[in-house]
Symmetry: D2
Subunit: 429 residues, 4 copies
């Protein structure tokens, strides 16, 4: 488990010192190190320069086991090392889905005290109830270029042309990747601005890059030359990537995920220290009325917390948590003193390949979840991840909502955040 | 730079094997390891069990240099190791602010190809323009408990009582931490639900936990007993934490940050490969009309990307990126063929202490930014971080908007994301 | 032009006095007058009772020429008379549309000083520019019943059944009126709530009632009995009728209308006392940035004003102005010192038959606009009305935006609202 | 009750014919009739010309009893007559408020069948329950000019200046009317755009014009000259007038109104043909979940309907219904099988003087409601109107929500809208 710093042996010390000096003196830019410098070594040189400039140590940043060569090429320019984010595990989380059926342990990368413990408590309740039902639908990855027309009539002709040539357009987009399939094109026109929201099935990839490349191809090589209508921005914010937007809530984006569970009174009491009446009232006043009072697009307790933790652990794009937070949590009375609880995540962009999924620890996290993309079943791995996330989010919602009813939110933060509990113990359950 | 695994020597191998077996056989829960087990060792035991259960390796997850003892107590229960997120550096970013004045290098933890390179290009343009002006205002960390009344008249009496006892309330909240100061209480009442949005200055902490603890104290020990009005949820979603909500956009939350720069035609051309006319049109069709068409709360290109990268690198709560994405980017014609560009971040919760800021790599990242909390100047360190983030976000917006105008968004993704460029080179500038 | 009060002669005075006394003494309810009492007479009796109860006169309320019999049966229960709303006329408004081509004079019922004069000024500018281009699309009238299921799996079966039986559903809905055609059904499911948004073409009717009746029929007689899934509310607020909602902005409702015009510098100066530069800046700071700052769903100056005036004059449902206000106004630089201006009204529910369109003055207003429904061309009359409204709204936007740039908004209100100008004069143009 | 057409006798027939011919031939504009022409006569001339141009009759439009002279000067330019909107009455509506205490009959001007009958039914239930509790708060009429600065630093200086000179600003605004009082100024700044949201108490006036005039005065004569900062639009859409906007929902505008009632099972059954269980479920699925699914800003059944009917009857600005529709309706279980029901109207701009309130029928409607402005108690009359509207809206919500639960929405529309019931009868109760 020792970190091997190959770089240190491949470059002569003098050369290294020289490069560091040049960076410090601003005679050289951080992204202009010699192309033949190994990535580890380049990172070391950059760190050393920064240490000198800022008068600080970057020792830990330089302590990593990921493949620097690959990361600096595929994930992160001006690479200097890695941030270490603590990972905890929850589970087993019992799920009844189409892509996951059984128990999983879910890794969460977080720095927020009590989050893992709390979500884990939700898993216990779900497990005792026989598991959560989870389902995923393909909402599709979207990209919406913005075009400029001269007004209504040209817009109408342009949109008619698009409709008439949808097959040709599809032929071009779908040729850019064997995993990308154009699902449809949704137009919107206001004044002289026209947006075409391309929606793609991207298999096991989250797909934002594939969608961008496909749109670029068809826009630059076919739509613009054939129609003479100029594309002003390949992303016209009608996509909508990483902004909270109603079009995403209404139409979905990435995966659309549903998760639900029914909990009896005994389970509520034993595992969540609460009752149906209390949970339902907290749901009503917080997730419904409070969200309405706030003009919120998210009607939930803390979906973003669970999402960001699983996203970072599994190499998803953490900026996509913005979209995931649009979710809706329901808690309704069910049976004698029990509840029905659900989460609805209409906009969950996730992938099992590409992005950060190939990085060392992220790859391990996906394996831990049983996620191994299979070219024979494109999309199944990403859907499995989506179903698991749906279940984890449900666990997180249940536990936090229950915490409100037993007044222990602040206390958990106080104990855990300030480190008053001995390691290895967990206040929940 | 070797990883020291202290745990391996402190516990007898037999004991370890036994615990692993118990976890695998579900005779023991992952959070119920013996309290005297060192954190490193507990993590190792959990990883070993998971490796056996899932038939996979967690080697890299176990390769970390952070203080496991501390992380497992303060940041992450059921600790098993660390996720390694690649870190790149941008800069120097030249800023003219009240808490930062001069050049800084900003670490970004990301797995998204081209993000660091692109933001770095924005820094170059800003630097050549003499730097960005940045300002921060204290919007205040908020927490809004939800109460239940019997209706209008009781609500009116309750709110009158709150107004009359604001000094007493402040005395109680402010006694919970010497860094917390109650700024004001904003009520909202709908039907039988009443929300009190407490707003605090939390010094150098992001403050969500401090605010929660202060609210818990005053609600449970003073407001509820004195008024007889029940608090149903300590967080009533009128706070609003980690959901996109208009109350946050209108009132602000955490820090309210402004950043701006004026760029002449020559700089636009040399550093951003664009012109004022193109940038302004892309701004109009994408950030304004496209966002309007989408029903978006965020009128910007990709604020969430830069935020999440700096947040992860510096130990901020990545789920708060949801709030940060509410920002507004402006690009306006300015002078002969130049532009004025700005970002407005009304809802940026950041801190220089607490949360993930004390973790090994995160702490280094803060030091790199010159962020060292000073008890004599509470709040100054967090505000410096906020100003720097404002500048980095501006750099990111400029570069991506310029990329749209020169059609190179997709191409950058194609080259960088697929790893076609040699390490150490950077396509920008 | 004398008002004939037929009622006064048909009922004996004693009988009338007796009924009035009973109403005043609360021995009889206002809606329980004898069924054989003519509507005029019933109105008179109610007015007399109210006059006595409130100690006030309702003389003017009783001065009307509309058909009381018909109005009290079809439009307004407990009928007591009519509100008189002043009507002014604007025009000629020159329009180049598919359903209107040429000049029209548009009646506006309003009590807001300066509104007619200002909109009329906009007409002059449009006319001089050769007219506005207008287009209408059938967005469809919608009604979305809310259903209750037991959760995900039942919802999926329910929605599959709906998809499989769409033809049968259509057969039932379309049999309820020969003018109603089901276009499609859009589902939405959150937790145990399922919404089916039925979208209909309703010919020349605005269609809310037709849609409701068709939904009632198919839900009660087919969907509920066949699936066993209970409909909880025939309108589930996913329709969305008379509330500002993103689903309507995204999907449209009623008619989707586009109107635009290009104005040269000379026209801007002569008719609107402004310049392109000033108009474009006002558009940017008010309709775009101001609306964004406000969290507004309407990006326009005052679409609701023109809509409500034309709606009341022509017998449309004034509560639908809520939906119409979602519109977006654009003003862009165009040619040398000119502008392109447009309005986009995605959610304009209007009809040429039904509702208030058959009332005396409303009917005249429609005739003045050349709107005479033709069973051979169902829908054409309503679309003509929609195109005209689009043009009138554009005129209103242009004039008010121009007023801001010449600082004369307040002055117009001051002069006109306070009655300082002699009748017959008009400050505009 | 005869209509007197004074105009017809004051102008010589030849002169009239001549003017009509000029209008028809477009040798004269409709707003350019001789200044000494009496308003009645001018209206007649315009109608005659329009009748000739459009080949239609405007007989009913010319049948009115309002004061044409006054209306054409103060309410409606290019005056041609009046639209007659049927008025029905509901009540008695029993209210327990601060400005109304007891029973009132409320006039509603509407063309929507079943609306009056349905709202009346709600009144019966409220009356039997002892009346609704109503309260009004002064949210204040707002106007927000938009200014242009050069960026952050100038904006900060500008806002500091505004804060420092608030007393001087108040002295100027408050001198423009003895009924206007500046409450406060709320700033918002994005990029180079700055908005100052002035909030005024306008006594018994709705106040939009008073606020505009006051802002114009202080901006043109004080703020602009003293600061050198240009006002780009006197209304910067951060006001926000007649658009659905979150700032209004959060901050309120005009009056903020609360109304509530508790209904026992017997009343629910007898008067509303429903039960608590059914009402509460319809509330949950429609007003809460359906509105959430739709991305709606209005969480209610049909507030806009009742508002528009009372607004037109009483001379309010019907375009303000857009703002009123932002309201929230609550229905909660209460006691054994009963419910608590409430409406919250944060944005209700109404007045008892000015606007259309002085017109003949509108004035009568206000008198019927006991609304007579008293200079000794400025604001009390407008607040009485607001409280009454709150009660009427509550009645409307209750009845429609109940109708959903008994499946009689469509049937009521069918019967009433198609005129199948004899006059004088009412299907409700």
């Amino acid at each position: 488990m020792t970190m091997i710093e190959k770089a240190q042996v491949t470059v002569k010390k003098e050369r290294r010192e020289e490069l560091i000096d040049e960076l410090v003196a601003r005679q050289r830019r951080f992204h202009s190190l010699p192309g033949d410098l190994p990535a580890d070594e380049a990172a070391h040189v950059r760190r050393s320069a920064l240490e000198e400039i800022a008068g600080t140590s970057l020792h830990h940043t330089g302590s990593f086991s990921l493949d620097a060569e690959r990361a600096s090429r595929r994930n992160c320019e001006n690479f200097i090392g890695a941030a270490q984010v603590p990972v905890g595990v929850i589970g087993p989380l019992r799920l009844n889905g189409q892509y996951v059926d059984g128990d999983v342990y879910v890794p969460m990368a977080t720095t927020e005290a009590a989050l893992v413990a709390s979500t884990n408590r939700g898993c216990a309740a779900i497990r005792e109830a026989g598991g959560a039902t989870v389902r995923v639908e393909e909402a599709g990855m979207t990209r919406a270029p913005a075009f400029r027309t001269s007004g209504i009539e040209e817009t109408q002709r342009f949109l008619a042309w698009i409709r008439q040539h949808e097959d040709d357009i599809r032929a071009i987009t779908d040729a850019t990747s064997r995993y990308l399939k154009l699902l449809d094109i949704r137009p919107s026109a206001i004044g002289t601005s026209v947006f075409l929201r391309f929606r793609f099935d991207c298999g096991d990839a989250m797909g934002m890059n594939m969608a961008t490349i496909a749109c670029d191809k068809v826009v630059r090589e076919y739509i613009e030359p054939e129609t003479g209508i100029a594309c002003i921005a390949l992303s016209g914010n009608f996509c909508v990537d990483k902004k909270p937007a109603q079009i995403n809530f209404q139409e979905g984006r990435g995966k659309r995920v549903f998760a639900e569970v029914e909990l009896e009174a005994a389970i509520l009491k034993k595992y969540l220290k609460t009752s149906a009446r209390h949970l339902v009232e907290a749901q009503y006043r917080k997730n419904l009325m409070g969200s309405i009072a706030a003009g919120s697009m998210g009607h939930n307790a803390h979906i973003a917390n669970v999402l960001s933790a699983v996203f970072i652990a599994t190499g998803q794009d953490p900026a996509h948590v913005v979209e995931g937070s649009l979710g809706v949590t329901c808690i309704e009375p069910h049976g004698p003193e029990g509840v029905y609880a659900s989460v609805y995540l209409p906009d969950l962009p996730v992938g099992a390949i590409g992005g950060g999924t190939d990085l060392a620890t992220q790859h391990e996290a996906l394996h831990l979840l049983g996620i191994r993309p299979d070219p024979e079943r494109p999309g199944a791995a990403a859907r499995r991840l989506a179903e698991i996330i749906g279940g984890a989010v449900l666990a997180g919602e249940l536990s936090l909502m229950a915490a409100f009813t037993s007044n222990d939110l602040a206390r958990a933060h106080e104990r855990l955040g300030r480190g008053k509990l001995p390691p290895g113990t967990d206040p929940s359950v």
